[in-house]
């Protein structure tokens, strides 16, 4: 079999739920040894596509169409569980998004790998299977593989667990590896290690990869070819360099523009939100958000192109201006004039002196000393009016600890925070001058309150006419229609909910806004919008902002100053420009190098 021969052939694949069609007739092929990226935002149907290929859809979802795998005489769709089980894990391996939950918590990692080996009988004995599992973990560069094989999942870190999951997927040398957002939940440096590992190992063994991700830069560094999905259809496909450097479909172009967080410019969010599947417009699914849409778009466009693997599904793709057009690229003229640097001598709002947080661990023995966990080593930090400070670092670096201390939600074990020149904590009348936005916009809004009540909550007289007016004003400021105030949080999308959380935080006109990963739960197309909202609030009202993020691009885009934390210690701080251009600490260098960069 020569490389380049089709390995996986998907034709007219559909996935239906009881109420809507979620995948709307897509077709693509993956050749032997080829790495294909499947790009899309949440709800685009990319994960369903992968699951449908292996017959792993939830009960209640019905697939249609055809999925053929080279060397298998039957169609994978409609095959029996017995037939599919012989293929899953043997010919096709799969890696999922959440390494923390993808492994069975009550079984040892090694036994979870050998289970797959024994099941398909690729090793003669139990001992040989055990050996193979350890060798595999070693190949996946897990330190102390023998010990790791004997560990339970909770004893390993996220990166180590994901290597375990990868071990399960690769244990029988599959021809195809399907990765569904394999590194989204991991730190940047670990993300780089894992993607390098996937690319390296699959390159070496000629394994084809179907790589699902919302991260365009990451896909560009992994894949030969990409498929862009929107609303259950493939809107564009082609070689990665062509699609990402010269995108033809308005959605691909908008997505690329939304991802471009060039500092000093304004990223362009895609107008509107990703519609729920039952609300998708007939014809072209993107037409209700597309700047180029007209009446022709009411009919569904077929994927067209000179070659079958280089297509675009848009009626107007020939008529679009050349990429990057001025209207689609980041708006460089709309930067705020001379904002940066202004903050140096403005009012000092918040300052910490030797702020420290140590936790006492559990006693190890009956008479043993309690171990100390150093969540945050002494840190000095000033936050001035109009200043935007970003805190970056990987999980366990102490970012959230710092934010909780600043917000007065946790007590320091040493040192303290001075708020507005006083040391009496943020509650002593300063409560409304300091507000917090949390990461999860679903979990941080009371599900039983209407949006209007949520936003009015921090206001002094929250049932008054003045409060009503203020809420309407805030809704407008965060770009939501007035009637959104009458809804409940679950009736809104993730991006809308985060905007409500921000409106709620801005309601009492705080002097300081603290934000913990404000955009990490959001899709790319709404991320830019939320970032701009935060930025405008600081400029217009001279508010100080302290943002925590694991995403360095976000910090660079949003902040003037950056603090780099590692293992509870401040390793570097400085202006965003200086740190990005000339990082001094080796860890900062490592972090910056690990950020996936758009290749084309």
């Amino acid at each position: 079999m020569s490389p380049g021969e089709p390995l996986l052939e998907v034709t007219n694949l559909t996935v239906d739920s009881a109420s809507a069609q979620l995948v709307r007739g897509i077709g693509f092929t993956v050749a032997r040894g080829e790495r294909v990226g499947l790009i899309g935002e949440s709800g685009s149907g990319k994960s369903l596509t992968a699951l449908a290929c292996l017959g792993l859809l939830d009960d209640g979802l019905r697939p249609g169409g055809s999925v053929r795998l080279a060397g298998v005489e039957f169609d994978l769709l409609g095959a029996s569980d017995r037939q599919l089980s012989a293929i899953r894990g043997k010919r096709v391996g799969m890696v999922f998004q959440e390494p923390m939950t993808a492994l069975n918590p009550v079984r040892r990692v090694g036994s979870q790998i050998t289970e797959g080996i024994r099941l398909h009988g690729t090793r003669p004995t139990r001992r040989a299977a055990d050996e193979a599992a350890v060798e595999l973990l070693d190949r996946l560069r897990l330190p102390a593989p023998r010990q790791a094989a004997r560990s339970f999942p909770h004893q390993l870190s996220g990166g180590q667990r994901q290597r375990g999951v990868l071990g399960i997927a690769l244990s029988n040398d599959p021809d195809l590896l399907i990765c569904d957002e394999p590194t989204t939940a991991l730190d940047v440096t670990v993300q780089k290690e894992i993607t390098d590992l996937i690319v390296g190992d699959c390159e070496e063994r000629g394994t084809a990869v179907l790589f699902i991700s919302h991260d365009l830069a990451l896909v560009s560094s992994v894949c030969h070819r990409v498929l862009v999905m929107y609303g259950g259809r493939i809107v564009e496909s082609g070689p990665a360099d062509r699609v990402l450097a010269a995108p033809k479909h308005p959605y691909t172009r908008a997505l690329l523009a939304a991802c471009d967080l060039t500092p000093g410019s304004r990223a362009r969010a895609i107008p509107g939100v990703v519609p729920a599947p039952k609300d998708l417009p007939a014809g072209c699914g993107f037409s209700n958000r597309c700047a180029y849409a007209d009446e022709q778009c009411a009919a569904p466009p077929e994927p067209t192109g000179e070659k079958p693997d280089d297509t675009v599904a848009c009626w107007h793709h020939d008529a679009l201006p050349s990429w990057p057009s001025a209207a689609e690229s980041p708006d460089r003229d709309r930067t705020e004039p001379a904002h940066r640097g202004k903050a140096v001598d403005s009012e000092l709002l918040l300052s910490t002196q030797g702020l420290t947080r140590h936790y006492q661990g559990r006693r190890t023995g009956l008479f043993g000393k309690r171990p100390t966990f150093r969540a945050l080593e002494p840190i000095d930090l000033d936050l001035r009016a109009g200043q935007r400070v970003g805190v970056v670092g990987e999980s366990g670096a102490g970012k959230s600890t710092l934010l909780r201390l600043l917000a007065g939600l946790d007590r320091p074990s040493d040192g303290g925070v001075r708020y507005f020149g006083r040391a009496d904590g943020p509650s002593g009348g300063a409560g409304s001058r300091l507000q917090v936005v949390f990461q999860d916009p679903m979990g941080s809004l009371d599900p039983r309150l209407r949006v209007r009540e949520i936003i009015a909550e921090p206001l002094p007289a929250r049932r008054s006419a003045a409060a009503r007016e203020r809420v309407s004003e805030l809704l407008m400021a965060v770009g939501l229609p007035e009637e959104a105030g009458e809804r409940y949080p679950h009736q809104l999308s993730g991006g809308q909910r985060q905007r409500i959380a921000i409106a709620r935080a801005l309601a009492p006109e705080p002097a300081v806004l603290l934000a913990d990963e404000p955009v990490s739960a959001l899709d790319v197309s709404v991320r830019a919008e939320v970032l701009d909202l935060l930025r405008t609030a600081t400029t217009e009202r001279d508010m100080a902002l302290c943002v925590i993020s694991h995403d360095l691009g976000v910090i660079r885009y949003l902040c003037d100053k950056v603090l780099v934390l590692r293992d509870g210690r401040l390793v570097e701080s400085g202006t965003v420009e200086s740190v990005w251009e000339a990082p001094r600490h080796p860890y900062t260098k490592q972090l910056l190098a690990a950020v996936p960069r758009m290749r084309y």
């Binding site: 569980d81 017995r82 993808a102 289970e115």
Partner: protein
Amino acid sequence: MNHVVRRTATLLVSVVVASFVVFAFLAVLPGNAAEVALGTNATPAAVARLSREFGTDRPLLVQYADWAQGLLHGDFGTSYVTHEAIGPRIADRFAVTAWLVAGGMLVALLLALPAGVLAAAWHRTGRGALLSGLSQVGIAVPAFLAGILLVYTFAVRAGALPAGGYTPLTEDAQDWARHLVLPWVSLGLVQGAVLTRYVRSALLSVQRQDFMRTARAKGVRRWAALCRHGLPNAAIPVVTVLGLQLSNLLVGAIVVEHVFVIPGLGDLLLRGVQDRDLLLVQGVVVVLVVAVLVLNLVTDLLYRVLDPRLRSR
């Protein structure tokens, strides 16, 4: 290990506290043992003499210490009413109730495990709904009603099994089993119905977890994944319920003993209450309390066997 020691220490403290509470509660009830023994026409002098003889005229703490010390040696004292040693009577009866409860639980498990697995696997299908409905009905039926219906069907109409009574295991094993089948089933049916729902919902929530998909993606068949990966995880919440149910069963057995005329602890307890035999009641209640505490300890230790995440803590 550390944990086992800690938990056992807690258990011992609980036993002491519980025994004191039981003692104190019964001691403050009006009417002392001597008055009860001598009847309503007794002279105060006679009551005082008998009180001295029983030792019930001593301070409460001394009485408790005396009683508790006896308990440590397995001596439950001598009944004020029948003048028999209480310990051996409780021991005999406890064995009967223990068999009843253990068998009832076994029936419940044999019923609930397959029914729960099937109900989870057939989730959202007609068959699954039927099983869920049946278990709902089972929960609504009290054990004594189930017992009476079973007696009517199998003993009165079919005449296949005895309607009541008891033969010790040591005398005739077959007869022993024939007498216990109906009580076992009537206890097990109800508890099994409750347990079925817990097994089903635990499995359903496990089924939605990512590792189940990982298992299927490596080629494990649907049913095998449910049994090999689903059940061990679902077992953790189910064991919690099981522990609570065992305690319930111990108490619930009293009713079933009454329906089937089985000479168990419940029967003894009722007789003790009727005869105002305080010492006997105290003894039975303490045994029940200790049994429940021990069952809790076993449940707690079982968690750590089932869940490695608890072991490393």
